[in-house]
Symmetry: C2
Subunit: 428 residues, 2 copies
């Protein structure tokens, strides 16, 4: 990690920049796959699955016998762990369901909101060696709570022609409606247009590589919504001398192992704390299986000493981290000062991996500074809130004259007239 001691505020802009990504212009490649899937549906999917995943797929939909086989192959230990996560995630996300409350804005005018699950949602789960079943929980549970009717999961097939058993097990536990063995750009295109076997959806969620991210962006031009812009994972830890250096180092590494393009930031009011964490980092990184990745991420990463914890929080607000650990005394008292972050972890025992798996919060969070203008995924992400108004005779008499004046001032005379015909009928 690069070290900075009391950098001037004028230098902060440089320290809050994310590492430059080699972003390719993928629009031509992605656009071609979209056109092909739109026109040729599943046969295009067969071609791309053979080309990119090196697997021949006849039927994309996961069958009951594949689910049964998955259930047999997941260990009881992992099943129990998934149960714990389902319980905490469900408990917290259920609290996000909005109760409808009628508000009388003037006598005779009642307004309220009702929530409706987005009818059809798609969840993309990347392939690769590590099966991201935890993301199935993080997206499937709020989708189900929100009342989404169709929850469709797409994930690329492994070389043995199905989806990783842990993903299929998790999908069943949280009530995914259908799973399809298709990945990459073609999966996103299939969810956008629908194919013979894969339904079109209204909103697409989930992580992915640069191709999947570009495909999700393109999907938005065809009327499909997406969860949020994606970017590499990141963590900012604010630590004072009450922090346990070994814990802080372990948390920094848990972000750093995600990818060479991940970034971790340590900010402290104590040079001694920073030095102790750096020693622990060196000890712990040496024994990690993903050591090489973590070391690369640490090269992009900064350790910064500032004059006070308040300055550390100012810096964090400027950076707008996806994950923010407050490993400081009376951490909860500082939450009020945090303006921009995806999720906040308080004290020495709230490790970031708790939020990734089982504290109950969602791990799909805004990266790359998007915590300034986006929230993480929640039940809100899977519903539309529809406003309702009930205006009585008395109500239209109360607000009608004001509407007439405003509509006329906006030169919208038919808007005015819609009130006038009602007021006239009540006065006649």
């Amino acid at each position: 990690m690069k070290q900075y001691v009391n950098p001037a505020k004028a230098e902060w802009w440089n320290l809050i920049r994310r590492p430059e990504l080699d972003t390719l212009d993928l629009s031509a490649i992605v656009g071609n796959v979209f056109q092909d899937v739109k026109i040729n549906g599943d046969s295009a999917n067969r071609k791309y699955t053979q080309q990119f995943d090196r697997v021949e797929i006849d039927t994309f939909k996961v069958s009951q016998s594949e689910f049964d086989a998955a259930n047999l192959s997941v260990s009881e230990e992992l099943k129990s762990a998934i149960d714990v996560a389902i319980s905490t995630i469900t408990t917290f996300h259920a609290s996000q369901l909005e109760k409808s409350t009628k508000i009388e804005t003037v006598p005779g005018v009642e307004c309220w909101r009702v929530s409706r699950g987005i009818e059809k949602v798609g969840i993309y789960i990347p392939g690769g060696s590590a099966p991201l079943f935890s993301t199935v929980l993080m997206l499937g549970i709020p989708a189900k709570l929100a009342g989404c009717k169709e929850i469709v999961l797409c994930s690329p097939p492994t070389t043995n022609e199905t989806i990783h058993p842990a993903i299929l097990y998790a999908a069943q536990q949280v009530g995914i409606t259908q799973c399809f063995k298709v990945g990459g750009v073609q999966a996103i295109a299939s969810l956008t247009f629908g194919t013979e076997s894969i339904p079109q959806v209204n909103k697409i969620f989930g992580p992915g590589n640069q191709y999947v991210t570009a495909a999700k962006q393109l999907a938005t031009t065809f009327g499909v919504a997406i969860d949020m812009p994606a970017g590499p994972s990141e963590l900012l830890v604010i630590a004072d001398e009450s922090a346990v250096p070994a814990f802080v180092a372990a948390d920094l590494l848990s972000q750093a192992e995600h990818g060479a393009d991940s970034q971790v930031i340590l900010v402290s009011d104590s040079q001694r704390t920073v030095e102790a964490v750096l020693v622990e980092l060196e000890n712990q990184v040496a024994v990690l299986p993903r050591q090489e990745i973590a070391r690369k991420a640490l090269e992009n990463s900064n350790a910064i000493v500032l004059d006070s914890i308040d300055s550390c929080i100012d810096f964090s607000n400027a950076y707008a981290p996806e994950h923010l650990i407050l490993a400081i005394q009376s951490a909860e008292n500082k939450v009020a000062s945090v303006l921009n972050a995806g999720s906040i972890f308080l004290g020495n025992y709230s490790c970031e991996s708790a939020g990734d798996y089982a504290s109950g919060t969602n791990h799909t969070l805004p990266t790359n500074g998007y915590a300034r203008n986006y929230s993480g995924v929640s039940v809100d992400s899977f519903v539309k809130k529809i406003t309702v108004q009930n205006v009585s005779e008395k109500g239209v008499q109360a607000i009608g004259p004001a509407i007439e004046v405003m509509a006329e001032a906006e030169q919208l005379m038919a808007h005015k007239n819609a009130v006038t015909v009602r007021l006239n009928s009540l006065n006649s």
Copy 2:
């Protein structure tokens, strides 16, 4: 309006299609203005304002003396009407502020959400002959309630070199921070990059023509969020024989006058009701100042008879209207069946223009079928919700072993280790 009686369900796809728009590919034009504003700032804005608005602007920021002059020129009648709207809109939107509730997901693990206003937001108000001050209220009030610190308004200058007084009056009443006399693509570019005088913002709200819409889309590629995709306004009325035909006709016309590309749909279980509404439509359209626009919109519009009110609601759910009037008996009982709509208006006296101005609900709503996957603007649109977790020693002991198992199954050993170092320290 075109009439359809009991169209087969297989024909509905054709009836729920929006009128085709002549969408131009504006990406080159919009992209050039963005580059110019990014590099040349206010001097580019001066050039485009002269070119498109035919006005020479030296200082873009609206001065106190311009505000003072606006306050003098707005009539007391309009000021009182705006006061009514501010009161109802504030009352309803204040109810949307989320109270933070701590949830114990397992003993020792507390999770909750905190809301933070997006720090800097931009509000775009189009120019033209009709000053859309009502949109200033609909965007400014929730922004202020949400706690946004900078609320910047851009609107093109009129020929007398300032912004329409009703807009400036409304802006002051709701607490807009700064107003700028700049419109079109250059306004959106200025809010995206910032200029010498105009601050960069995190999220851009507000309506506009095709150029502004394309500019907002482009802004999202530079890290700025936007409210929602825009499209022509639309209304669907479900009427039974309890509906007052004159009221229904007035409501249909209040949408139709918005623009020749607007669409209105009447759906009923009664041929007699449809015929009575069509007679009223002809009577009322003849006396409208915007008669020509309204007649063009009616050409794009449909009157459909179906076998029951439940079928009418099914049709509406397939159409997903921006505005839905339920001019039917026991209208409130049918709200539960509505799945896709921006805002719902109940009974004979809830005219759509009530929601446009003063019932208290927001009038910035999803069009063009986006009610399937987007909500209208609310306080939620102006906040980020940040999750917080506080895991105690007891809490990490409760969920830690499950996290270790899941992290290992996802091959993220540093994630596992962040828990292990804590559990080890508690067991030692």
